[in-house]
Each structure stands twice: as structure tokens, then as C-alpha cells.
């Protein structure tokens, strides 16, 4: 059996009395794309924030490669493991959060140079390769404020990939894009999957996920309702809640 690139077991998260994640289990195999769907408030955004360590988990484990994050360990140990987890998991935020005071190139090499201590020259060479692959090589010296939303997103993808993450998280990547841009984003992400990247994409757009995801995970009320191959979940869902959700989404 292939070990998953990321393995989540019994993941729990609550804010006070509000239990957002009530025991989530799933794995993502290497070089696959998992699409996460669910209504607003189903817990999918919280799941993503747990996977990159922005939220502290209250129960269960997250394993990514040799990093194992679990609830109930000492504070110092937890913090160290979160740092390790973040080095394994790259995130492309819904609103990108590029650093406005740094050029496009500066945004991409910032973490490799200051976190991984990659020599600046090496980091720049790599950054130009990444920019070329997202079609923005000419924009290297520009500043985020002068870029369109689609361009900013591609910089954000390049910035995350510059850290060589084992897993890339994308939060609502299509929310700011027009349909033409959605198609080119899908094509772009597929090229990265073909090069061996693993991704989890949270999206409301079934059309987009249908073309890019290998598997779909449907969440509702803080639990995984259905998880299977894209074809199967989208076209012949097993659970009535999935059916209802997909019908409303059409």
C-alpha cells in the first residue's frame, strides 16, 4: 500500500463550545490532487488552517512525511513540529497575501534565503525558473500592487513552490478569476501535478475541480461525508447529503 503524502487521523478542532472539526480522517497519495468541497461553515477552511499549522489542533494527528503533529504534546514540542510541518506544506491563500513592499522576485526568494538559507544567487535562478513556468518572468522586478489578481495568484503559487513543499494547499483559487483565467489556472496546476506535486484544493467550483482533482472529499458539519474518485463523487454520489449539495451547487 502506498503511504499517503499526508495522513490525517481523528482531527478535531473547536472554538470554545463550537466544534468545527469532529474527527476528520483522510489520506492523500503522492502526485494526486484532492478537491475539498462543502457548504460554508462545513469546516473546510478550518481544516486547511489546521493543515498548515495556523490553527492549533485539539485532537488527532496530522502526518506529512516524517513530521507528525498531534494534540496533547508539550507546547515547545508542538511549536517545533508546527514549524517543521509548515516547511512541508505550502499555502496559496484566497487573497494571496503577497508582500507589497517586496518585488515579485523578492516575494519568491524571501523565504528560501531567510528560512532555508539558500544562497541568494541560487534562489534567484530558481525563482526565475518558477516565474517562467507561471508565465511571469517579465514581471520579476515589478511590485504586487501593479499586478492583476490573476498575476498575483501565479506569483503566490511560485512563492509557495519556491520552498519545495511536499504538499500545496490552495484556498478558493478560482474566486477572483474570470472563466478564461480559470481554464489557464487548471492547465497550470495540472503541469505541476505532472511534475510530481501533491495538492489539496478547496473550491466551490465543481467545474474547476472536475478538471483538476483526482479525488473529491465532501465535508458537512465538521465530518467527512464522502471521499472518493472525482468521477464517482461528482457523478454518482453515495450519500444523500452529497447529492443534495451537488444539486444545489449546479
Amino acid at each position: 500500500m502506498i503511504r499517503g503524502m499526508i495522513r490525517v487521523k481523528g482531527l478535531r478542532k473547536h472554538f470554545g463550545d463550537a466544534h468545527i472539526l469532529k474527527g476528520i480522517d483522510f489520506e492523500v497519495a503522492p502526485k494526486t490532487v484532492l478537491g475539498v468541497i462543502g457548504a460554508s461553515g462545513s469546516g473546510k477552511s478550518t481544516l486547511l488552517r489546521c493543515l498548515n499549522g495556523l490553527e492549533t489542533i485539539d485532537g488527532g494527528t496530522i502526518e506529512c512525511g516524517d513530521v507528525r503533529l498531534e494534540a496533547g504534546i508539550s507546547h515547545a514540542d508542538y511549536r517545533k513540529r508546527v514549524r517543521d510541518l509548515r516547511l512541508k506544506v505550502g499555502t496559496v491563500f484566497q487573497h494571496f497575501y503577497l508582500f507589497p513592499h517586496l518585488s515579485v522576485l523578492g516575494n519568491i526568494i524571501e523565504a528560501p534565503v531567510h528560512v532555508l538559507h539558500t544562497p541568494r544567487k541560487t534562489a534567484e535562478t530558481e525563482a526565475f525558473e518558477l516565474l517562467e513556468s507561471v508565465g511571469l518572468k517579465v514581471a520579476a522586478r515589478r511590485y504586487p500592487g501593479s499586478l492583476s489578481g490573476g498575476e498575483q495568484q501565479r506569483v503566490a503559487i511560485a512563492r509557495a513552490l519556491a520552498m519545495h513543499p511536499a504538499l500545496l494547499l490552495l484556498d478558493e483559487p478560482t474566486s477572483a478569476l474570470d472563466p478564461r483565467r480559470v481554464n489557464s489556472l487548471r492547465a497550470l496546476l495540472r503541469t505541476f501535478v505532472d511534475r510530481g506535486h501533491t495538492m489539496i484544493i478547496i473550491s466551490h467550483s465543481m467545474g474547476f475541480l472536475g478538471g483538476v482533482a483526482d479525488e473529491i472529499l465532501f465535508m458537512d458539519g465538521g465530518v467527512v461525508v464522502e471521499h472518493g474518485p472525482t468521477e464517482q463523487v461528482l457523478n454518482s454520489p453515495q450519500d444523500t447529503r452529497t447529492k443534495e449539495f451537488l444539486e444545489q451547487a449546479e
Partner: protein, 484 residues
């Protein structure tokens, strides 16, 4: 007139009672009462004139203009007749012969006369015979508003010697065992009463009254009571008592103000240099200290937040003038005696750090949480994220209000005059008081201030513009060509 027939006429007299012993000062035993040998003398004079004396507390530096504004009728405050004052007011005949006494620290054997004071700093009262003598001799001096401050600074080694009229010296320095007189009293000067020009009738009345209290021994009694009776007074009073008119033409030369524009501009330039030094120094303190204060108040543990908040509220909530006075006069009590310029530099720095911390805090809080999360998700720790991502962005937001603060800091250096630092405001006050050139010197001083603050505002604008352009610029394709 302010009198009606039958009512006793009033003689309103002005003097500076703060640190004014033994001339006129607040009775330590009864703070509502003024005492002093001149107080007693004016009462005697008024009695001789058939009037009732009424004291109007005033400020030494502005006595002449207050007299002209009719705040009172006569100045009785150890006033020396000088050429420039003679152009503005009338003088009575003299009533006292004063001498000057140099004072040094008891353990100081370097200074025995004024000649030993070259290249040292002497404290004295502004716009007096003593200050003019020092001016003429080319000796560096520091002006004080009263003898108390000067003698205290002498003890604290902020100055090397103090030069005052013997009455003040006798009262404030003699009893102090840490100080000693250097050499004998020297020069003979006269105290006269100042009157408004054109007030000849009152002058005749006052002159007659002076003769009367000299002749009947009243003045001698008063001076003896205050320990001010000496050989100089005997020589001065004897001819009057024997009915001979003494020479009333006063020699002004030793006490003439030596004002000239070249000298004034040179002193203003030095004052401007001190102003710049204080402003830049306190700026550095404010910028550096403001940051830990801001971060402590923003993200620190509870005890640190309380501490930082207390600091900020204390320095924002109390006048900077009071803070400076405290640092200058209060800290020496626990053994920290900084020179005036350093006190001003540190005091303003500590004060402005409180303001800067609030500018920083607001700017830091204005950075969206997403920036922190983006930095964290790239594997940065809090310190790295703060230094590389948050701080540079906050700096852009903070720059305009910081510029604003620093332009006002330049102007706030003027509070240093309260602790006798020779900066622009002090220079203006003293030069203008000595010369009467309030208008021209005022324009010159304003020009100095503008010459300092305008370039700074301009510089800050340039920096802002550069940062702004950067954020939105559209670089041409050739410039953006990658080297790869």
C-alpha cells in the same frame, strides 16, 4: 488718577521675588508674605512719600517692558543704570552700592579671580552688570533666572564658578559650606529705582524720599539688619548725610550692554547648533526606544503591557517642561547630574519615544493578519516575520506622522530654555532682552528654525514618494528582463 482726595496714594513697585533673596522674596515662614531689604526699604520710602507701598510680583527679564505697560510705577529690584535702559526709562538717584563676588566650589583651588575663568563656564543672572562684565572679558557664561539654580549647578559641577552681586551671594552662597568666595568683592556699581519716562514728578518724590531715609538712618538700620552694611555704603551715604549732594551722574561704562549684530548672529548660530544636536539626539532615542515600547504594549505579556502603557501615559500625560525640570533638578538628588543639553536631549527623547510608540503601534496594527499568516506559512518564525515582513510595511505607514512629530520636536527643543540650555529660544530671549531688538532677532531666529525644519520635511516627502512609487510602479519590459 487712581486716587481720590483724602485717600492715601499708592506706590506700586515691581520686582522678581523668585530666588530674589535678600532683595525681595517669599517669607519661608509665611508663604503669603514677601520680605527682603528692598521690601523694607520701599515701605520706608513710601512712608516718607506719604504713600502706601503695593508690591507687584513680576519677572526680572521683562521688568522694563512691564513698567512701560504701567503694570507698576517703579522698579525696585537691584536695578543697575545702563546706557540701553537709560534710553527706555528714568532712573532715580542711587540708593545702594553693590559689588560683585565670584564663587567657586570649596575644594576648587584653580580659580581665584575672574582672570582664572577664561575657558571655563561661569553662571550668572541674565542681563546684569555681572553678565555684561563676563561678555566684555570674553568669558563663557551661562544665564540663570535666579541665583539658586546657578549655585546648585556650581555644586553639581555643571559650571565652574558663579558671579553675582554681593547681596545675593551673601544670602545664597556664604552659608553653603560646599562653596567659597574666590577673591575679594570687586567693581562698584549702583542700584537705582526705575521710573517711566516723563514721570519727573514721581522721580522728584522718590529722590527726596531716598535722601530722607539715608539722612535719618532708616536705610542704615535696614541694611544692617540684612547684613549688607559695609564700607562702600558708608562712603556713599556720608556726603548725603552731611548735606553735600553726591555725584549723581552714573558711570555706565562698566555695565553697558555690548550688543552688536555680528556677535548676536554668531551666538544664534551656536544656539542653532545646540538645537540641532538636541533635536537629532532625542530623535534617535525616540525612534529606537519607541519600537520596544510599541511591541511591548502590543504583543507583550500582561505585566509588560501594563509597564509600557504606564510609561506612555506618564510621558504623554505630564508636561515635557515638568519632565525636564525633574530630570535637571530632581535627578541630582539621587546622584545623576547631567549637563543641561544632555538633560534636554534625554528628556525630549524619552518624551517623544512615548509618542512614537503610539505611531508605531497604530502602524503595526494596520498590517493585515494575512501578512503574518503568509509569513508563517512560508516557515518564518515570529521574529523573522516581524523584521522582514511586518516592520518594513509598518514603517511606510508610520513615516508621515513621524515626520510630523519630528518637525514639532525641533520646535520643542525650545523648552530647554527652562534649564538654561543655550539653544535658539534662550538665545532669542536673552539677546532680545539685552538689546530690545525683539522684531529683527525674532525674524532671524524664525529663519533658523525654518532652515532646520523645512529640509527635514522635504527629505521625508522624498522618501515617502520613493516608497509609494515603488509599490505601484510599472517597470518597462527591458528593465524587467531577467538575467537568468
Amino acid at each position: 488718577m487712581w486716587t481720590t482726595a483724602g485717600a492715601q496714594q499708592i506706590l506700586r513697585w515691581g520686582a522678581d521675588p523668585s530666588g530674589g533673596a535678600p532683595y525681595v522674596f517669599t517669607d519661608p515662614a509665611n508663604p503669603d508674605r514677601y520680605i527682603g531689604y528692598e521690601k523694607e526699604m520701599v515701605d520706608a520710602l513710601a512712608a516718607a512719600m506719604g504713600r502706601r507701598a503695593e508690591f507687584v510680583p513680576s519677572d526680572w527679564e521683562t521688568l522694563v517692558s512691564a513698567l512701560q505697560r504701567k503694570s507698576f510705577d517703579v522698579i525696585v529690584n537691584g536695578l543697575e543704570p545702563t546706557g540701553d535702559r537709560a534710553r527706555q526709562i528714568l532712573f532715580s538717584k542711587p540708593y545702594y552700592i553693590f559689588q560683585l563676588q565670584l564663587t567657586v566650589r570649596a575644594d576648587d583651588n584653580r580659580i581665584n579671580s575672574l582672570a582664572d575663568c577664561k575657558n571655563r563656564v561661569v553662571g550668572t543672572l541674565a542681563n546684569t552688570a555681572a553678565s555684561r562684565l563676563l561678555d566684555k572679558e570674553g568669558i563663557d557664561y551661562k544665564s540663570y533666572a535666579d541665583p539658586v539654580g546657578a549655585y546648585r549647578d556650581l555644586e553639581l559641577k555643571r559650571i565652574d564658578a558663579a558671579l553675582f552681586d554681593v547681596p545675593a551671594e551673601a544670602f545664597y552662597a556664604r552659608p553653603n559650606r560646599r562653596l567659597k568666595p574666590a577673591g575679594e568683592p570687586f567693581t562698584n556699581g549702583q542700584y537705582v529705582i526705575g521710573l517711566r519716562q516723563g514721570d519727573e514728578a514721581l522721580k522728584a518724590e522718590v529722590d527726596a524720599a531716598i535722601d530722607k531715609i539715608v539722612t535719618d538712618g532708616t536705610l542704615e538700620t535696614i541694611l544692617k539688619k540684612w547684613g549688607l552694611w559695609n564700607q562702600a555704603q558708608i562712603e556713599f551715604q556720608t556726603p548725603i548725610r552731611s548735606g553735600n549732594q553726591p555725584q549723581t551722574n552714573v558711570e555706565y561704562t562698566t555695565t553697558e550692554a555690548t550688543f552688536n549684530w555680528r556677535e548676536a548672529m554668531w551666538r544664534l548660530t551656536r544656539a542653532a547648533a545646540v538645537t540641532v544636536l538636541i533635536a537629532l539626539g532625542s530623535m534617535v532615542i525616540a525612534v529606537v526606544l519607541g519600537l520596544p515600547l510599541a511591541v511591548g504594549q502590543w504583543k507583550g505579556p500582561a505585566w509588560l503591557r501594563v509597564l509600557c502603557t504606564f510609561y506612555v501615559e506618564f510621558f504623554r500625560g505630564t508636561p515635557v517642561l515638568v519632565q525636564l525640570l525633574f530630570l535637571y533638578f530632581g535627578l541630582p538628588v539621587i546622584g545623576i547630574a547631567m549637563p543641561g543639553w544632555l538633560t534636554a536631549l534625554v528628556g525630549l527623547g524619552l518624551n517623544y519615544a512615548a509618542y512614537e510608540s503610539q505611531v508605531y503601534r497604530a502602524s503595526l496594527e494596520a498590517i493585515p493578519t494575512g501578512q503574518w499568516e503568509a509569513a508563517y506559512s512560508l516557515g518564518m518564525g515570529p521574529v523573522l516575520a516581524f523584521r522582514r515582513i511586518i516592520l518594513p510595511q509598518a514603517f511606510r505607514i508610520a513615516l508621515p506622522p513621524m515626520t510630523n512629530d519630528f518637525v514639532s520636536l525641533f520646535k520643542d527643543t525650545s523648552v530647554a530654555f527652562a534649564i538654561s540650555v543655550w539653544e535658539l529660544a534662550t538665545a532669542y530671549r536673552e539677546l532680545a532682552n539685552a538689546s530690545g531688538q525683539f522684531l529683527l532677532l525674532g525674524l532671524a531666529v524664525s529663519a533658523f528654525y525654518l532652515a532646520m525644519s523645512l529640509p527635514m520635511a522635504h527629505l521625508a516627502r522624498l522618501l515617502e514618494q520613493r516608497l509609494r512609487n515603488r509599490a505601484t510602479d510599472r517597470v518597462t519590459e527591458t528593465e524587467a528582463e531577467a538575467p537568468a
